[in-house]
């Protein structure tokens, strides 16, 4: 599984995030600046990368680390 740093840096390029928000505990809304349209764009980017985010996971997301954990869990489930 890709590391958190690589995962976050990939998203940072798409969303023009500054390096100081690339932390597991960074808030998606306040620090990453994702409003509702931004969140939809994040879902599309993740879909584009092969992650199928379902709404139960989405409802729980508050930090960048939550997004990473969802994707990591899905990747490990599929590889097992």
């Amino acid at each position: 599984m890709i590391s958190f740093d690589n995962f976050a840096e990939g998203l940072a390029r798409d969303f023009s995030w500054s390096p100081d928000v690339l932390r597991q505990e960074a808030s998606l809304v306040e620090e990453c600046g994702l409003d509702s349209l931004g969140m939809y764009e994040l879902l599309l980017v993740l879909e584009d990368s092969g992650y199928q985010v379902d709404e139960d996971d989405l409802m729980m997301w508050t930090t960048l680390g939550d997004v990473y954990e969802t994707c990591k869990r899905q990747a490990s489930k599929l590889s097992s």
Partner: protein
């Protein structure tokens, strides 16, 4: 990313005319009316939606449900078919080709992005089924301040000064628009990309830009 290379073997999620990856639109049926009523009367929604803070009875709500409406749907989640919202097209002028759109969603999904997929599907549907070229959105100024992401991609066309009364003062009503055709083309491309993704996953499964 090792695990995601196998995504093509998992069950693909295929958008259809009224269904997206996360939400789908279903017709308004009598069984949905209590949900729609509670949604409209919810404390967090009521002042933002068409009643602007007024409480009406269920009977009055039902009586007005189709008044001035061109089309409307209940928004449900694709996975669980849980109702989460209501989208409406109203005040249509089919001769000139424009319509107003509105939507209201349960508070739990506010800010989660699902409303954008609902509107994307709804606008595709309207484009396919009616002679429309332009959509308008009305935002009371207190909504616009609280939900900037709702209209980031829209064009502001007008500001009706002190247009509506709520909570002891008058508020401006902002009118935004989007050309329906442009959205449809963009969405068609997005749908084609989604379909393509169902069949061909990226080799490394990394976020876009990492590969």
């Amino acid at each position: 990313m090792d695990g995601c290379n196998d995504m093509s073997t998992s069950s693909p999620r295929r958008p259809s005319e009224l269904s997206g990856l996360w939400v789908q639109l279903v017709p308004v049926r009598p069984g949905n009316i209590p949900f729609l009523y509670n949604l409209a009367m919810d404390k967090q929604n009521n002042f933002r939606w068409k009643y602007h803070g007024a409480i009406v009875s269920m009977q009055e709500f039902e009586r007005q449900l189709w008044s001035g409406i061109l089309s409307q749907f209940v928004v449900v989640t694709t996975k669980n078919e849980k109702p989460i919202g209501h989208v409406v097209a109203y005040a249509a002028d089919l001769h000139l080709g424009h319509v107003f759109l509105g939507g209201v969603f349960v508070p739990e999904v506010h800010g989660k992005g699902l409303s954008h997929e609902a509107f994307r599907i709804f606008m595709q549907y309207l484009q396919r089924n009616f002679r429309l070229r332009k959509c308008y959105f009305e935002f009371p100024s207190y909504n616009a301040a609280q939900y900037p992401g709702s209209f980031r991609d829209l064009t502001e066309e007008a500001c009706l000064k002190d247009h509506l009364y709520y909570d002891g003062r008058y508020w401006d009503m902002l009118i935004f628009s989007t050309p329906l055709g442009r959205t449809y083309e963009g969405d068609q491309r997005a749908s084609e990309e989604t379909r393509a993704r169902d069949h061909a996953q990226p080799a490394n499964g990394l976020p876009r830009g990492l590969g």
